[in-house]
C-alpha cells in the first residue's frame, strides 16, 4: 500500500493586509476593493521557492529514508542548476538521492505527488515531494491581491502510511487560463468568467467522477474535498455536480494566505491531513492545463504523526504588514534608490561554493573527536585552545540546533533590502557559536537572550548576474 507517510508546510510570517494593496492602487484600479478582504502571505526578500520548500521539508522532521526528491514550482529560481539539488543539500539528504524539478503548470504539485506515488509503488522507497511558489504579479493586479507565498511537502512511500493512495484521474487539455513565457516575469490571464465556467466547472467534475470510480469510492463517502480555487462558489458547484456533500469542502485559506500557485493544493492537503481522522476519504485537485484528481484514505497511523509546526502553526506565526511599498520593494516591482553600498559587486565563486557546500548549504560544522568541542566552520585544527587536534572533526549538523542571542545590533548603515540589518553572535545550546544574520526580527521584543532557530535563506542577491547565494539565518522563536 503506497500513500502519504508525512506532511509539512511553510508559510512566511508576514501577512500583507489586502486593503493596503487596494488603497494604494485605488487611484488607478478602484475595482480592487472588491478583492480586499483578508490578507495574504508575503515572503521576505530573502525567501524564494527553494528556501520555502526547504522549510516545508524541515517541518516533517527526520528525512533519512528519502531516496528521491521532486520539487514542484512555477517559480523555480534557476532554469539551469537543479533547484531540488539545492534543497537536497540544505536538507542533508543522501548524495545518492534522485532529484527532479517539475513545473510549468499550477498542477505540477499534484503531478509530482502522483509521480512520487508511482515510484514508491515500483521501488518501495520513500520520495520527498516539495512544492513551493513565490509568484510575482504586476503591481495593482488582481493576481497580486489574491496570491500568496508558501510551500508544502510530503513524504510518500510504502508501509506505515497515514493516508493510503486509492487512485487518481488526470486530464490534459490546453485550456489556457493563464500563461507565462519562459523569459517573462508575469502571468497573462484570461477572463475570470470563462476560466470558471469552461475550466473549473467543466474540466474538473468528470475527472473527479472518474477518479472516484477508479478508487471505488462513492461520492457521498468523500469526507474532504480540496478545491484550490480563488473563485468564490466554484467549489460548492463542483461538489454539487459530483454528488459530494458540501460539508466535505475544505478551507481554501484565501482570506488568510492567498492562492500559493502550484503549492496551494498541497498546502490545503497538508491542512486537511492535520485534522483528519482515520478512515476518511480525501480528494485533492490540481488545476492547470487540465487537472489531476487524487483520492486518499487516512489510516490509523494518522493519529501518530504531527508536523513540527504545520499549516495551523504557521498561520498562528503571523506578523501583520500594511506597508505595500515594502512588498513592491521585496519583489523588485519598484526601482528604489538602494544607495551606493548596494553597488558592491560580489561575483559568485562557484569553485569555493562547491568546495564548501556541505558547510554552507548543508550547514555542517565540526565536532572534535578528541575533546568534543562543537565548532563552525569545521576547521583543520580544533578551536579549543586546550586541544588543537588536527583533522579531528567529524561532521556536526547545525541546522536543527537551537540557540540564543549573545550579541546583536540593528545596523542602519550596511546595505539591506529590509533595513536595519540584524546580525550578531548566536550561542547554540549544547555547544558551538557563530556570528550570523538574523531574519524575521520583530524589533520590539528582540534582545540578548532571545531564543533562535536557524532557517535556510538567501544571503545575497546578485542582480548583475541574476543569481543568488544561500546560507542560514537565525530567526527568533518562542521559548
Amino acid at each position: 500500500m503506497v500513500g502519504i507517510k508525512k506532511f509539512g508546510a511553510y508559510l512566511p510570517q508576514r501577512r500583507l493586509i489586502r486593503s493596503s494593496i487596494a488603497s494604494a492602487n485605488a487611484w488607478f484600479e478602484p475595482s480592487l476593493s472588491s478583492l480586499s478582504r483578508g490578507e495574504r502571505t508575503m515572503s521576505s526578500w530573502d525567501e524564494d521557492s527553494i528556501t520555502m520548500a526547504v522549510e516545508a521539508a524541515r517541518d516533517m522532521g527526520n528525512l533519512e529514508s528519502i531516496t528521491q526528491i521532486i520539487l514542484a514550482s512555477t517559480t523555480h529560481p534557476f532554469s539551469i542548476r537543479q533547484n531540488s539539488v539545492i534543497a537536497a543539500e540544505a536538507l542533508n539528504l543522501k548524495t545518492s538521492v534522485r532529484s527532479a524539478d517539475v513545473g510549468g503548470s499550477l498542477r505540477s504539485s499534484t503531478s509530482a505527488i502522483l509521480s512520487g506515488l508511482d515510484s514508491s509503488r515500483a521501488n518501495s522507497e520513500d520520495t520527498l515531494i516539495l512544492t513551493s511558489d513565490k509568484r510575482v504579479a504586476l503591481a495593482g493586479s488582481p493576481t497580486e491581491m489574491l496570491s500568496g507565498d508558501g510551500a508544502a511537502g510530503f513524504v510518500v512511500g510504502k508501509n506505515n502510511v497515514i493516508a493510503s493512495y486509492l487512485g487518481s484521474s488526470s486530464l490534459s487539455a490546453d485550456f489556457v487560463d493563464q500563461f507565462r513565457a519562459s523569459n517573462e516575469r508575469y502571468d497573462y490571464l484570461w477572463e475570470d468568467r470563462w476560466v470558471r465556467e469552461e475550466g473549473w466547472l467543466k474540466l474538473i467534475p468528470p475527472t473527479i467522477s472518474k477518479a472516484l470510480e477508479k478508487s471505488d469510492v462513492d461520492p457521498s463517502k468523500v469526507d474532504h474535498l480540496i478545491i484550490p480555487s480563488q473563485f468564490p462558489r466554484v467549489a460548492e458547484k463542483i461538489a454539487k455536480i459530483c454528488g459530494i456533500e458540501e460539508k466535505a469542502l475544505c478551507e481554501t485559506l484565501m482570506n488568510e494566505v492567498g492562492q500559493c500557485g502550484t503549492a496551494h493544493p498541497a498546502i490545503l492537503l497538508s491542512l486537511v491531513l492535520s485534522s483528519a481522522k482515520p478512515n476518511q476519504i480525501i480528494v485533492a485537485i490540481g488545476f492547470g492545463q487540465g487537472c489531476d484528481v487524487l483520492v486518499f484514505k487516512t489510516t490509523n497511523e494518522i493519529n501518530n504523526y504531527k508536523p513540527l509546526t504545520g499549516v495551523e502553526g504557521w498561520l498562528a506565526n503571523r506578523v501583520e504588514e500594511t506597508n505595500y511599498d515594502k512588498f513592491l520593494t521585496f519583489n523588485n516591482l519598484i526601482q528604489r534608490d538602494l544607495g551606493k553600498r548596494a553597488e558592491l559587486d560580489r561575483p559568485p565563486a562557484l569553485t569555493a561554493q562547491f568546495r564548501n557546500r556541505e558547510g554552507v548549504t548543508g550547514f555542517r560544522g565540526g565536532r572534535c573527536k578528541k575533546c568534543e568541542t562543537i565548532q563552525y566552520p569545521k576547521s583543520i585544527y580544533c578551536v579549543n585552545p586546550e586541544c588543537r587536534a588536527k583533522d579531528s572533526q567529524g561532521d556536526y549538523p547545525f541546522s536543527e540546533l537551537k540557540g540564543y542571542v549573545k550579541t546583536f545590533t540593528a545596523d542602519h548603515l550596511v546595505f539591506s533590502i529590509d533595513p536595519p540589518s540584524y546580525f550578531g553572535l548566536v550561542e547554540f545550546i549544547g555547544g558551538g557559536r557563530m556570528m550570523v544574520e538574523f531574519a524575521d526580527v520583530n524589533n520590539s521584543d528582540f534582545d540578548v537572550g532571545k531564543a533562535v532557530k536557524m532557517r535556510f535563506r538567501i544571503k545575497h542577491l546578485d542582480d548583475r548576474r541574476n543569481t543568488r547565494q544561500y546560507f542560514w539565518k537565525a530567526c527568533p522563536v518562542k521559548e
Binding site: 568546495r355 576547521s379 540589518s421 556570528m435
Partner: protein
Amino acid sequence: MPEGIRDKVAIIGMGCSKFGEHWDLEPSDLMSEAFEECLLDSGIERSQIDAAWLSTAFDAVNVGPSAIPLATSLRLGYIPVTHVENMCASGTEAFRGACYAVASGAAEFALALGVEKLKDTGYGGLPARTRGVTNDLFSPTVSAPGAFAQLASGYRGTHNVSQSDLKRAMAHVSVKSHANGTLNSKAHLRREITIEQALKAPMVADPIGLFDCCGVSDGAACAIVTTPEIAMQLGKSNVISVKALQLSVSNGEESGFSSWDASNFKTTQIAANRAYKEAKITDPISEISMTEVHDCFSITELVTMEDLGLAKKGEAWKSILDGDFDSSGHTPCQIDGGLKCFGHPIGASGLRMLYEIYLQFNNRAEKRQLKNVNYGLTHNLGGHPIQNVCSVAIVGYFDG
C-alpha cells in the same frame, strides 16, 4: 617571553598631514605633507633612509597595491619598501616593520608612513568591501559600526548595565574627545558637542548613534626611527624611545569557542599584557600618562579602558562618567581628539596616534600639552570584536 625591543629604537622625526575631507588632494600630496614635516624634524637627509614601510587598508580607493606608490611619491632611492595591510592596525604595523629593521641592525634609519584616501567613494562611512570569496559564503555582511555595536549588547549582558547608563557613558566619551579636538589645528572635526546632542543623534547601528562614530577622512602620518645611540649622536635631547610594540591577532576562539563573553577584546588584553611586560610596566594606571586608543566608536574606547587595565572590569562606564580619562583625569585619553575628531584614514591612524604622543613628549602639543608625561600608549583595533587585529605601542623617554 622574548626580551623585546625596549629602548632599542628611537623616534627622531614625525609628521602628520592635516586630516579632513581633502577633495583637492591626492594620496601623494598627503604623503608628501607628512613626510616633509617628519624629515625636517628628524634632521637627516632623504638619502639616509635605508628602508621604508607603507601602510594602507583600502587599496581600491587609495593608492593601489604594492609599495611603489610610496617610493614614487617620495622619490625614495630604490631602497627596500614594504607595503603592509592589517586593517585598522596597519599604521602601527608599518611602524613595527621600521622598528624591527632598526632593532635588528638591518637599517640605521627606517621610515614608516601610513596614508588613506577615503573620500573618493561618493558616500559616507568606510567603503563597503568583501571579506574574500569563502568568508562571504557564510559571514554576515556588516558595517563597521554594526560590528562594533555588538560590544554594547555583549557588555550589557555580561555586566548587567542598563542601556541608558551605557549610552550616557558612550556620550561622555564622544563629548570629551570633541572638546579635546577643538584645541588641535590638524583635527578634522573641531567643534564641541553636548551630551544631549550625542544621546539624540540619529541611530547608525543600535545603540551606536552618529556621534558615537569617529569621522571618516583623508590623511597621512609618518615616523623616522633609528637607534637611541644614533639619535643622541644627532644631538637629540630627550630621546623618545619605543618601550613596547605588540600585536595580537584573533585565532577564531572568540567567534568559535564559547569562552569569550563578547564584552571586551581578548586581543587587547593579550597585547597590553605583553606590552606592559616588554615595557616593564607593572601598574598601568599610575605609570601610563596618556593613551591614544582606537575610538572608532565610543563603545570601543569604553571597553578598551578595561582591556588595558585602566578601569576595573564592568566599571569603565562609571570611570568614564567620573572623568578619569578626560584631559584633567588620571589618564587622559585622546588628548588630540582621537579618531573621533581626526577621522580614521586607516593606514595613517596608528602613526597619527604616535605623533600626538611624540609631540607631548617633546613639549610641542601647544594648548593641549600635558604635564609630567611618563609613558604614552597607542592602541589600534582592526576587524570586528569577534575577530580582530590589535596593536599596542608604548613609548617614553629613553632611559638606557
